[in-house]
Amino acid sequence: MSGKVLLIEDEPNIIEAIKFILSREGWQVHAHSNGETAVQTVRDRTPDVLILDAMLPGRSGYDILRELREDISTQSLPILMLTARGQTKDREMAERAGASRFMTKPFSNSEVLDAVKALSGA
């Protein structure tokens, strides 16, 4: 399995774990931790799947998501939203902003792997 995954997350040990499990399955994983420069990084990296944390230093993940959905080049990019809240309204907020999928922390490795596979159509 191959493809590019961009992980926008500020927690270094989550980055390391997700990188490990996805790389092991053949994905090329790039991580980015800054919310302010996240949109530009997505445009530069052109990932097949984006994993986006909701709370980031500099800018909210929901804001980033909305901007990506307004851009024609990233309008249909599969995006997995990660959040620490599991309330219905958070899910609705993510869906309204254009998330392809929503996952609540703490998630398992297999859930992430399955979600990325499903979003990439693999």
């Binding site: 040990n13 774990a17 490990f20 709370m55 620490a84 703490p106 398992s108």
Partner: protein, 433 residues
């Protein structure tokens, strides 16, 4: 208010509840229907044999008619019933219930107040969970750390060999994350404990202020002696949230200015000549009516004699100060009756409005109110002033007839029986009565 001023209302309430026509009851009691009508509207006193005859005709103890239950207790019971409309509480027998079982009635009202307070606490906590940025950040950090630990532990627990370097990194990550988790948890508990009391035991800052003023009985002896506001804040502000402390400080500063401009001794002397008539006191003391109202509300019982109530609302109609009377309760939550002169005053700034009021669905006690709206803050060029309104409430002395026909008002729509009211916001639970 003396207890016998409400006897007529209780007779009327019992008679209507039993479906007895006024003329029929008058005939049994040996009086004219018009005289009974005056009694029922508290325009004629009743006692002696006539009271005994009417009580017998209605099948109740005479004391149930003369003593009844406190108006605040009745209002509390009706509010309790309004919370559970499907419970089928016998609203037409509220007064009887309160009169026969005052202890149980008080327990029910207190329980309802406690439930309301707890519901409010839940709302506050829910709101806090949603909007408190520090709490949200702490929870996010905790869950992120847990996620990292879980991911690393899962990788290590998988069957098969893992590169020793990766194995070592994940062990180290788990160690670091567990230490971070412990630290974050401790910080979160400290944060929650620090605000626990104010977050769970009180509601809005305004409710906290209401509670603090009620506890102080609206009278601040230190400020009557021109003490510093900061000194009083130390005593009264303890345990309040910072937002409530801010409200309290503003209220105390106004109290201090009022006490300086209109000392208690001057007001006490004028009270002997003018009673609690705010307008007469205002003229006699050369003070604005609204200041006189606030000073009256701040007087202790031994100075005031008859108690007074006071409501102050801002331009949006929200009560920013409430000192209810037993015979004229004011809603703790939600909006008051829009027919109160308090709100009419906002339409007629500066005019002092005076009226005699009866709260419908209640004991029938008549109160006299004076209301005035005045600007808040200093005048500004080319800017419309913002108004706040005051309404002083005082019991109408027994010996005094209403100056004009009294107007019917309510407390809040939910427990007001007036079905066709232009000011109605929501249906009343009493409309079926």
């Amino acid at each position: 208010m003396p207890k016998d001023t409400l006897t007529g209302s209780r007779i009327r309430e019992r008679r209507i509840a039993q479906g007895v026509r006024q003329a029929e009851l008058a005939r049994i009691a040996g009086i004219s229907a018009s005289y009974l009508n005056l009694i029922e509207h508290n325009r004629r006193r009743i006692g002696g044999k006539l009271l005994l005859d009417i009580a017998e005709a209605l099948g109740v103890e005479p004391t149930h008619l003369t003593e009844g239950a406190g108006a605040a207790l009745i209002a509390g019971l009706r509010e309790a019933a309004s919370d559970l409309p499907d419970a089928g509480a016998e609203l037409d027998r509220t007064d009887e219930f309160a009169g026969r079982f005052p202890g149980w009635a008080a327990a029910l009202v207190a329980t309802r107040a406690r439930v309301a307070q707890l519901e409010r606490s839940v709302e506050v906590l829910t709101d806090r969970m949603t909007h408190d940025p520090q709490l949200a950040a702490s929870l996010h950090e905790m869950l992120s750390t847990v996620t990292a630990i879980r991911s690393a532990a899962s990788i290590l627990a998988e069957p098969g060999d893992i590169d020793p370097d990766w194995q070592s990194r994940f062990h180290r990550n788990i160690y670091e994350d567990s230490a971070r988790l412990a630290e974050t948890s401790r910080g979160l508990v400290t944060y929650l404990e620090a605000d626990n009391e104010q977050a769970t035991e009180t509601g809005t800052p305004q409710e906290e202020l209401d509670g603090a003023l009620e506890k102080a009985e609206h009278h601040i002896p230190e400020l009557e002696q021109q003490a510093d506001v900061a000194q009083v804040m130390t005593r009264l502000g303890r345990g309040l949230s910072s937002a409530a402390q801010s409200l309290l400080r503003a209220w105390l500063e106004r109290y201090a200015a009022d006490a300086k401009a209109l000392p208690m001794n001057d007001l006490a002397k004028a009270l002997t000549a003018h009673g609690t008539d705010a307008l007469a006191l205002s003229v006699a003391l050369d003070q604005p009516p609204t200041r006189v109202m606030r000073r009256l509300a701040a007087m202790p019982a031994e100075v005031l004699g008859d108690p007074v109530g006071l409501a102050i609302c801002d331009a949006s109609g929200v009560l920013s100060y409430r000192k209810p009377l037993p015979d004229f309760p004011m809603p703790r939550f939600g909006a008051a009756c829009p027919l109160w002169p308090l709100y009419k005053a906002l339409n007629r700034p500066y005019a002092v409005l005076s009226a005699d009021l009866v709260q419908l669905g209640r004991s029938g006690a008549t109160v006299r109110v004076e209301a005035q709206a005045t600007p808040v803050g200093p005048p500004q060029a080319n800017s419309d002033p913002l108004f706040e309104a005051h309404m002083l409430v005082r019991p109408l002395p027994v010996s005094r007839e209403p100056a004009s026909p009294s107007a019917d008002v309510g407390i809040t729509c939910r427990i007001c029986p007036r079905v066709k009211c232009i000011g109605r916001r929501e249906p009343s639970i009493l409309s079926a009565l």
